[in-house]
Symmetry: C2
Subunit: 332 residues, 2 copies
Amino acid sequence: MSEYDVLCIGNAIVDIIARAEDDFLHDNQIIKGAMNLIDAERAELLYERMGPAVEASGGSAGNTAAGIASLGGRAAYFGKVCDDHLGAIYRHDICAQGVAFDTAPLPQTPPTARSMIFVTPDGERSMNTYLGACVELGPEDIEEDKVAASQVTYFEGYLWDPPRAKHAIRKAAEIAHAHGRQMSMTLSDPFCVDRYRDEFLDLMRSGAVDIVFANEDEVKSLYQTADFSTACEAMRADCRLAIVTRSEKGSIAMSKTETASVIAHEIDNLVDTTGAGDLYAAGFLYGYTAGRSLEDCANLGSLAAAVVIQQIGPRPQVSLRQSAIDAGLVKG
Amino acid sequence: MSEYDVLCIGNAIVDIIARAEDDFLHDNQIIKGAMNLIDAERAELLYERMGPAVEASGGSAGNTAAGIASLGGRAAYFGKVCDDHLGAIYRHDICAQGVAFDTAPLPQTPPTARSMIFVTPDGERSMNTYLGACVELGPEDIEEDKVAASQVTYFEGYLWDPPRAKHAIRKAAEIAHAHGRQMSMTLSDPFCVDRYRDEFLDLMRSGAVDIVFANEDEVKSLYQTADFSTACEAMRADCRLAIVTRSEKGSIAMSKTETASVIAHEIDNLVDTTGAGDLYAAGFLYGYTAGRSLEDCANLGSLAAAVVIQQIGPRPQVSLRQSAIDAGLVKG
C-alpha cells in the first residue's frame, strides 16, 4: 500500500506572466522558449520593462503535483519558499489543490523564487527565473516517510541549478529504491540538459532514475544528435521507461519491450504553453500509478497538457478529473 | 488642451481569483454577484477555504484606467496602496499599462487591499474585499494639476465605503468644474447604492457629477423601483448623461435630448464577468473624450466588456486598441 501516488520535488516558484512581442525577447536577450536563470538585479530590471502581469503559483514539479491532485491522484510536494507574501501564496495554492506540502520555509532571505514569463503571440513562453529561496533546498528537506510512502518520486532536472538540491535527490532515490519505489525525472529544458548532460546520463544509467520525461529538443540535446530516432533509441536503452513529448506531433512512451505512440489532444485555441510538459507528466504519472496501459498514460498526459495550454498560467483552472471523464479516459 | 483624457479614482485592490461552486458561496454566506466587505479576520478565514488562485491587479476604477490606456487613451489614476509586495505589484501593473500613477503609498500598515473573488460556473463573480490601505485615501491625495488637466475625472461609488475618500472626491469635483472639466461616477453595486443612496442622488442632483454609469440592478436600487423604464427616466432627469448597462441585453446612453441603445457585443465563451462594468466605462469614456457619438461610445464600451469577460481577471490581457480596430470601431 502507498499513501501517495506521486511525490514531486522541485523549485517552488511563483510565476509572473505577461504578454510580449518577439522583439521584446530579442531586445532583452531572452532566449525564446527557454528557462533563463537571472540574478536579483536583472530580475528588477526585467520587471521594470515588463508589461502588466498576472501572478500564479508555478514551478515545474509543483505544477505536476497540482495536476495529479486535479486528476484525483494523491500527491505530495517538497520545495523551498521563504516565509514572505509570495511564499504564503505558493503554500496556499498547492495545499488548496489537495497536495501534501510541509517543507519548512526559510525564515528570512532570500525571498521566494519568481519567474517572469513572457508569452509571445504564438503562445510560446520564455521564462526568466530568479531562484531565491530555492537555493536552500537540501537533503534535510527530504521527508523520509513521504518518499517511502510514494509509488513514484518525481523531480525536475532544473534542481541541478541550485547548489544542494542534487544531494537531496540522491538521498530520495536511495530511500525510494530501498522501499521498492520508483524514481522519475524530467530533463526540463534543452539548455539545462546541456549544463548537466553527464550527470543526467549517470542518473539514468546508474539506475538512480527509472522513468524519464523529455521533449524532442531535450532528448536531442541529451544525446547530442539531430536525429530524433537515434536519440529515442538511446534513451530507451538508458532507462526503464522513456517518454518523449513532441508538442502538436503527439508523444511516445518506450519501455524496453513496448512502444506506445499517441497523437496530441485537439485544441481550439493555443493561449500559453506554460506548464504543458509539467501537466503531460501529471497525466502520465496519474495513469501509471493507477496501473493503466502506456497508451492510456500517454493519452492522459496529452489531455492534461491540452487543458493547460488553452489558458493563461501553469496550473489547470478547471478540474482535470472532469476533463478526463468528459474525454472518456477516466470513469466518472 | 488636456494632458489626460480620463483620471480615475478608486480603491486600489489586488484580486485573488479562484473558481468555486454555488454551494461554496451559500455555505460561506457570500452574497452572489456582489461586493462583500470583509475585515482582516474574515479575509484570513476565507483564504484558508479558497481553492488554488491567481492574482491580478484590480480595483474598479483602476481597471477602467487600464482599459482606457489599452485603447490608446491617456489615463491617470489615484488610489492608495501600502509599501508592501502587493502594493509593488499594483504599481507595476498600472504603470506598465501606461497609466500615470503617483499616489504616495502608506509606509507601514494597513497592507494593500485585496479582494477574494469566487467565480462560479456561470461566470458570475462574487467579491470579498478587505480594504486595507484604501481606508487612508483622503483629500491630500488629490493632485490638483492632474484633475485640472483631465477631460473627465471618474470615480467609483465604492469610495463611499472608506471613511475619507468622499472628501477627496468632493475636492476633485470642485477643481474639475473650476477648470471646465466633467465629473463621472459608477454606482458600483446595488448594495453600495443601498448604503449611500441619498448621497449618490445628491452628487447627481447638485451637479457634482455629470456622467453616471449604472447597471440595471443599480439604477433600480437607486430609485427603489422594480420598473426599469421608470428608473431610467429618473436617472436621465438627474444627470447630464446617464449610461445603463444590461449585460447580454446591451446598454443605453441617455442625455436630456438623446437616447442611444446598443446591443451587447457577441462573445464565444463567458469565462469570468470580473471587470465587465469597469471595462464598459473604459470603452465609453475613451469614445466620449474623443468626441464620438453616444452610439459609438456605447459600442466601444460593449466591445471592451466583451473582451474582459472572455478571460480570467479584470484587466484585458490583449490590446483593446487592436480589438477595436478589428471590430471597425477605431481607425488603425
